[in-house]
Assembly symmetry: C3
Homo-oligomer: 297 residues x 3
């Protein structure tokens, strides 16, 4: 505001210059008047100059001061920028370190993933190995063994279904029990009976005879005899059920191999796959197969 007023004053002075347009008039002025007029004019000019100098100086001072202030601000900004650049550089280094560590962790994760898979597979094999002399009997009511014990039920099944197999195999039972140990009251199907035999060959001969006879019964009621596999193997096998069914309908002669590989005949060759992912990849090159399995993989 102050600056504006100064400029205003200067302009008003400009509006009232002495009237010196008529040279004739000037020549006719009495000497004394002329002298006084001239001196006043000079004096006016001098004071105009003083005022101008004053206002210009004020303006200049103000400009310089502001410039100094701004210069300081710029210098401070530069310092701030340096500090910011350092912070960013530091942050970027921390980010790079983190990225390196995340790569390390991811690599370690993948390595662990492989080890865990290997451990899980090994454990599954071990369970299956432990269970390889077992037979599972499915469908015998829980009440049956109340009096006579579980082993007796196995004996009855052998006598009822495989009369030629004889007493010898019954003596090979090492354990006979319901599984799981506790009754789950929410399930209304009887628990399975697990029979542990002394040797694989006894299990195999019973299961072979059961496959040949097709219909197995206990006291006339249909039951099932199966191999005993780990929960993991059973789950993996269950996932192939639909695929096996469709392949059978299409005469691909599918079979499940241990632990849960699918094997079938295609274009005259026997193909084996460990998982659906691998089968899907293969089927992309075989339109007929892809069409057949389109909703299963």
């Amino acid at each position: 505001m102050r600056r504006q007023k100064n400029t205003q004053q200067m302009k008003e002075q400009d509006k009232n210059p002495p009237d010196l347009t008529n040279e004739e008039e000037i020549g006719n002025l009495p000497e004394k008047e002329f002298r006084i007029m001239i001196v006043r004019m000079i004096r006016n000019l001098g004071s105009r100059m003083d005022k101008m100098q004053e206002t210009v100086n004020k303006d200049l001072q103000e400009l310089k001061m502001k410039q100094a202030t701004m210069n300081n601000a710029i210098n401070e900004i530069k310092i701030t920028l340096d500090r910011i650049n350092s912070r960013i550089t530091e942050a970027e280094e921390r980010i790079s370190d983190l990225e390196d560590k995340v790569v390390e962790i991811t690599t370690a994760e993948q390595n662990k993933e492989k080890r865990m898979k290997r451990t899980e597979d090994s454990l599954r094999d071990l369970w299956d190995n432990m269970k390889r002399t077992n037979i599972r009997i499915i469908g015998v009511p829980e009440e049956e063994e109340r009096k006579k014990g579980t082993e007796k039920i196995f004996e009855e099944i052998i006598v009822e279904n495989f009369p030629n197999m004889g007493k010898e195999i019954v003596n090979q039972v090492q354990e006979a029990q319901r599984v799981p140990y506790r009754i789950n009251t929410r399930r209304n199907t009887p628990r399975h009976i697990l029979i542990k035999l002394s040797k694989i060959k006894y299990k195999e001969s019973i299961l072979k005879a059961a496959r040949e006879k097709q219909q197995i019964t206990h006291k006339g009621i249909p039951i099932r005899l199966t191999a005993d596999l780990s929960a993991e193997t059973l789950q993996a096998r269950r996932e192939w059920q639909d695929t096996l069914k469709v392949m059978k309908e299409n005469s691909l002669q599918p079979r499940l191999l241990y632990p849960a590989r699918i094997s079938f005949t295609f274009d005259g060759e026997i193909k084996t796959f460990t998982d659906k992912q691998k089968l899907r990849e293969f089927s992309t090159t075989k339109p007929a197969l892809q069409q057949m399995l389109k909703e299963l993989l």
Copy 2:
């Protein structure tokens, strides 16, 4: 410094204006003197103006120059700011990527955690399964079997404690050995003897008879017969010992179920818990139970 000097000079000129205050004097000056005085005054004004113009120009030039310099600085700062903003934006994107990856890793970690727990539980079950026909004999001095072998000690214990059980069970021993295989010289208690029997039922009948007889001895010295459990199951069971003791004192009829679940009667109902965390949560709603177990959970 230079600017200051200029301003100083201008002020000194202001101090010596021609003395024109007395108009009478001016009117009385001789013509020639007046003329010379006037011309000098005008000349002085002119040179004042020159000097003023010069110093003002200098100041203005300097201000403009500095302004240009500052303007350049500001433009450079703006460029720097753009560069900084880009760096920050890039850094923020890298941080976001890292955050996404850390979330992925954490999810994978939790998944692995579950798989590891499942694997560990399965392995523990497998060990317990392997050990389910075993009996541990605790307290027989190491020297005993020097001559006669470990199996003989088992036979002696059966004869000494369960004379009615007969020779048959002794023939069911599949393995008899001290565990661990190596003697730890820092422990001065004898190693346990591990007896592997052919069937679970033999183990169970021996342990049942031992519980009924309460005091078991070998050559008159008290010993203990226990089931053989995996290290993990034993550890998990050990953690319930204090709780079992307190519950027994308070007639809650506590029992340990396989592998390490605690079961007890409370408010007329049988409650079962797999770990202390779950029992603690339950007890928060039962002040009496909470009070009873306050230092155990």
Copy 3:
């Protein structure tokens, strides 16, 4: 450009001051001419001052305007800097959070690493435990058992090599099979035969007899009888082979302990190491040992 022109005009005016150097001439001028000259001079000075004021004002206005613009720019820069500082602070906090999480993950990783190692070791022990009654027969052609079955081959080997051992041990065979189950057509060595015996002691007596006889044959062809160990234990043992050889040559009486620990006599003491890392650390304090094993650890 405009500013430069103004400055230029002012300088040209300076070049043409009225010629007032000669005071005599001034005194001799006719009155009217003098008056007109003086008035013109004053008028010129006045208009010079006007112009100067105008150009200076222009310059000042311009400087002020630019200063205002720059001031705005500086204020905007400060706002930008504040925003940048906030962004950096936020980014730094996110980085710190990430660093904390990465530390957590790394700790969890190390914990998992230990658990996995423990699980793997436990699983390895379990496999070895399962296999501890097994004998591996290496080198019998695949065709041999076509007619007579795998168990018969074991019987033939016992009769051919250990005639005094008698029929009893042959009756202790629980399983006899080729491993792996499937023939790998890329390998042209016969698969191993795995014999599972009923008790450890039968395995031990056969392996002891085999070590004493040194050369074992089947139908005159050299074969090998070995203990059956898990793949993991075998691999770990294989890694000590070179070290065992060198230690034997240097009479350190090295032995492999279960599962894969090396034991040897050094400076009259028996030393045992679970892995090469530990042996390397020990050897750094024993120059003779270090020299001996320098290319093996």
